[in-house]
C-alpha cells in the first residue's frame, strides 16, 4: 500500500497497522508539533453507507466514553476525497501482543503481577464502556495499547507491564451501543477472543466482553488463547487452580454461566491470584449486596491505584456541589435530572473519632458509599467513619437509577490529627 503524504493537515510518518476497512498511520500535527495516530477509512469503503456510518459512530462513541482507559480522540475529519478519519492519541508503548512478543525474546516471564495488572486495567476500561451500555466486542491483544508511565525509564526487568503504565482500549470499531439498539448484532470479532455468540448474528451483551477478557488472560498466561481445556492448561502451566477455574467459567459457551459482570469477573480473578485485601481503614455496616455498575467502577478504580477523583471523572469540571455550613457541616450534592446523589456530615474529621454521614438520595433504586481505600457500602442510610490517620479522605456516594444510569457526589474531607 502506498503511503499517503498527508491526511488532512497531518503529515503522515509511517503505517502502524491495517484492518479490514481502514489503516492506522503515525502522523505529525505540524501546527501543534505533536505526534498523533490517524485511522483512515479506505477510499473504496468511504461511501459505503454501513461502513461509513460505523466508522463515524466509533468516533462519537470514543468521545462519549471519554475515559483515561480508552484511547483519546482529538478530532474527526474527512479528506478531500471525503474519507473520514479519526485523529487519536499516539500510544507509544505499542500493543499488548507486541509487548508480550518482545518480552518472550528476553528473559521476562509473565507472572501473576502482570496478569493482575492487565485484569485491573481491562476491567477499568470495560467498566467505563459498560456503564454507558456499550459492549466492546473486540477485546484482543492488538486492541490493547500500553501507555507507558513516567517512571518506566528504568523498568523492572521482571515485569511485562510496569507500575505506572496504563493499558488503553484502542479500537471501538465493533463496539455496540446497547442503549441505541436491541442488542441484536451481526457476526464480528477476533478469532480466539470473540465470544461464541458473536460468531453468528444474535443477541450480545456485556458478557461477551467477560468471555474476551477471560480469553485475554488465558493468552497472557499461556501465550495462546485457543486452548480446549483452559482450567487444565492453566494448572499444568503452574498457575493456581482457582485461576484456571475462573477463566474456564468466563469462557463458558452459555453467557449465563459466566460471571454476570466484569466487576464480578475481576473480583474472582483477584481472589484466585491475590491474597485478600487489607482490612478497611474505617468501619462498615453489614450490608453485602453489591450493585454491579458502581461496584465495578470502584474495583477497577481502586485496583489500578485510582481514587475517587478518577471515578467521578477528573477530566471534567467537578459536577458535585459541596456546601460547607457555618456550623462545620458539609453537604455534597450531584443531581442529573430526577436522579440525585447527596450526603451530609462534618466537614472536618479527627483521627480516632467516629463521624457519621447521612445519605440523601432521590430517583434511585440503590446507592453505594465509596471510600478512598476501595470500600463499598451499599444501601445504608448512614455511614460511620473512624479515620486512622490525618490528612485528606475522599468520600463519595453513587446513586443508581432503575435504568442503570448513575450520578456520583464526592467530597474530599479533612482529617485532623
Amino acid at each position: 500500500m502506498q503511503l499517503p503524504e498527508r491526511i488532512g493537515r497531518y503529515e503522515v510518518g509511517r503505517l502502524i497497522g491495517t484492518g479490514a476497512f481502514s489503516a492506522v498511520y503515525q502522523a505529525t500535527d505540524t501546527r501543534i508539533g505533536c505526534e498523533v495516530a490517524i485511522k483512515l477509512l479506505a477510499d473504496h469503503h468511504s461511501l459505503d453507507p454501513d461502513i461509513r456510518e460505523r466508522f463515524i459512530a466509533e468516533a462519537r462513541l470514543l468521545r462519549r466514553v471519554n475515559n483515561p482507559r480508552v484511547v483519546r480522540l482529538y478530532d474527526l475529519d474527512e479528506t478531500e476525497r471525503l474519507q473520514p478519519f479519526l485523529v487519536m492519541e499516539l500510544v507509544a508503548g505499542g500493543n499488548l501482543a507486541a509487548v508480550r512478543a518482545e518480552a518472550e525474546g528476553s528473559s521476562v516471564a509473565v507472572g501473576p503481577a502482570d496478569v493482575m495488572t492487565v485484569a485491573d486495567e481491562v476491567t477499568a476500561a470495560l467498566t467505563a464502556l459498560h456503564e454507558q451500555r456499550i459492549v466492546h466486542r473486540d477485546l484482543s491483544p492488538r486492541n490493547l495499547l500500553v501507555r507507558r508511565g513516567a517512571d518506566t525509564a528504568t523498568p523492572p526487568r521482571d515485569r511485562l507491564i510496569h507500575p505506572g503504565d496504563t493499558i488503553v482500549l484502542a479500537d471501538l470499531g465493533l463496539s455496540k451501543d446497547l442503549a441505541a439498539s436491541s442488542g441484536l448484532t451481526a457476526a464480528a470479532g477476533t478469532d480466539g477472543f470473540a465470544a461464541p455468540e458473536q460468531r453468528s448474528a444474535g443477541v450480545v451483551d456485556e458478557r461477551a466482553d467477560v468471555y474476551a477478557a477471560s480469553a485475554l488472560l488465558t493468552w497472557l498466561a499461556l501465550g495462546r488463547s485457543d486452548v480446549d481445556e483452559p482450567a487444565t492448561a492453566i494448572r499444568s502451566a503452574g498457575w493456581p487452580e482457582a485461576f484456571g477455574a475462573v477463566l474456564a467459567r468466563g469462557r463458558s459457551v452459555d453467557p449465563a454461566a459466566r460471571p454476570a459482570t466484569i466487576a464480578a469477573w475481576h473480583a474472582a480473578v483477584r481472589a484466585a491470584l491475590d491474597p485478600p485485601p487489607p482490612a478497611p481503614a474505617w468501619q462498615r455496616s453489614s450490608a453485602r449486596r453489591w450493585v454491579a455498575i458502581a461496584a465495578a467502577a470502584l474495583l477497577a478504580g481502586s485496583a489500578a491505584g485510582y481514587g475517587i477523583a478518577q471515578l467521578a471523572g477528573s477530566d471534567d469540571p467537578p459536577a458535585t456541589t459541596v456546601i460547607q455550613g457555618d456550623d462545620g457541616s458539609l453537604r455534597a450534592e450531584h443531581a442529573d435530572g430526577e436522579l440525585v446523589a447527596a450526603f451530609g456530615g462534618p466537614a472536618t474529621l479527627t483521627v480516632g473519632e467516629r463521624a457519621t454521614f447521612t445519605a440523601d438520595v432521590a430517583g434511585a433504586v440503590s446507592w453505594l458509599w465509596l471510600g478512598a481505600g476501595g470500600q463499598v457500602v451499599p444501601d445504608e442510610p448512614r455511614l460511620a467513619i473512624t479515620p486512622t490517620s490525618a490528612g485528606q479522605l475522599d468520600l463519595a456516594l453513587v446513586a443508581i437509577a432503575a435504568d442503570g444510569t448513575s450520578v456520583t457526589a464526592s467530597a474530599t474531607l479533612t482529617v485532623a490529627g
Binding site: 461511501l47 453507507p49 461509513r52 463515524i56 459512530a57 474527526l76 474527512e78 471525503l82 473520514p84
Partner: protein, 216 residues
C-alpha cells in the same frame, strides 16, 4: 384525558386538516413537533400524504424539516453541517416526490431513514466527483437546481405554484422564477433570511411532490 381519547381527537383533527381546515392543520403541526420518538402521528400524516393529500404533505414536510430526526440521520454519515443542510433539502424533495410509494408497511421513520441514507451517500458521491475535477466550478445539477429547470419547463407549473400555500408560493416565485437572492426575498416579504431559505426549500419540495403526482 386518556391516550386513546387524544388519538381520536387528533385523528379527527387530521381529517379536518386534510379537508382544508387551517386551525386543525396548526393543531396537527404542533402535535407532530411534540410527539415522542415512536412518531405514530407522523406515520398517519405520511399515509395521508401518500394517499394524495396536499395538506398532509405540507404538514409532513414541515414536521420532518423541523424535527431533529432527519438531520440526526444524515449526521450519521455526513460531517459538514452545511452539507447536512443540503442533504436535508434533497431529502425533503425526495419525500415529496416519492411519498406515494410509502405504504405504511414499515414505520415512516424507517422509510425516511432509508431515503436520508440514500440521499446522503448520493450527495457525498457527487461532491467527491466534483472535487476531483480541479478548478471546475461546474458541479452537476443538485436536486434543487434540477427542480428549477423542471419548473421552467413545465406548462403545469403555474397551476402547481398557484396551489402552494401563499408564503411558500411567494418565496418560490421570487427565488426560482425571478432569481432573487435570499436577502432580497427576505427584504421584500419582511421575514428573516433563514425563514426565506426555509420557505423556498419547503415550497420546492411541495412543488416537486405535486409535479410528480401530476406526471403520473
Amino acid at each position: 384525558m386518556s391516550v386513546g381519547d387524544g388519538n381520536r381527537e387528533l385523528q379527527r383533527a387530521l381529517e379536518q386538516a386534510i379537508r382544508g381546515d387551517q386551525r386543525a392543520a396548526d393543531r396537527i403541526g404542533a402535535a407532530l413537533l411534540a410527539e415522542d420518538t415512536e412518531c405514530a402521528l407522523l406515520g398517519q400524516v405520511a399515509l395521508a400524504a401518500a394517499g394524495g393529500s396536499a395538506a398532509a404533505l405540507d404538514l409532513l414536510l414541515t414536521a420532518i424539516d423541523q424535527l431533529p430526526l432527519l438531520r440526526a440521520a444524515i449526521g450519521r454519515l455526513v460531517l459538514e453541517p452545511a452539507t447536512v443542510d443540503d442533504v436535508a433539502q434533497d431529502v425533503l424533495i425526495a419525500v415529496a416526490e416519492k411519498i406515494a410509494g410509502f405504504r405504511g408497511e414499515a414505520k415512516f421513520t424507517t422509510w425516511l431513514y432509508q431515503v436520508a441514507r440514500f440521499k446522503a451517500i448520493d450527495h457525498l458521491r457527487r461532491q467527491r466527483d466534483d472535487d476531483s475535477i480541479d478548478d471546475e466550478p461546474a458541479p452537476g445539477p443538485t436536486e434543487t437546481e434540477r427542480m428549477s429547470s423542471l419548473i421552467a419547463s413545465r406548462s403545469t407549473i403555474r397551476d402547481a405554484i398557484e396551489a402552494l400555500p401563499e408564503h411558500y408560493r411567494t418565496a418560490v416565485v421570487l427565488r426560482d422564477i425571478e432569481r432573487a437572492p435570499y436577502a432580497e426575498i427576505a427584504a421584500r416579504t419582511g421575514i428573516p433570511v433563514n425563514t426565506a431559505k426555509t420557505h423556498v426549500a419547503r415550497g420546492r419540495a411541495l412543488l416537486a411532490g405535486r409535479l410528480a403526482t401530476d406526471a403520473t
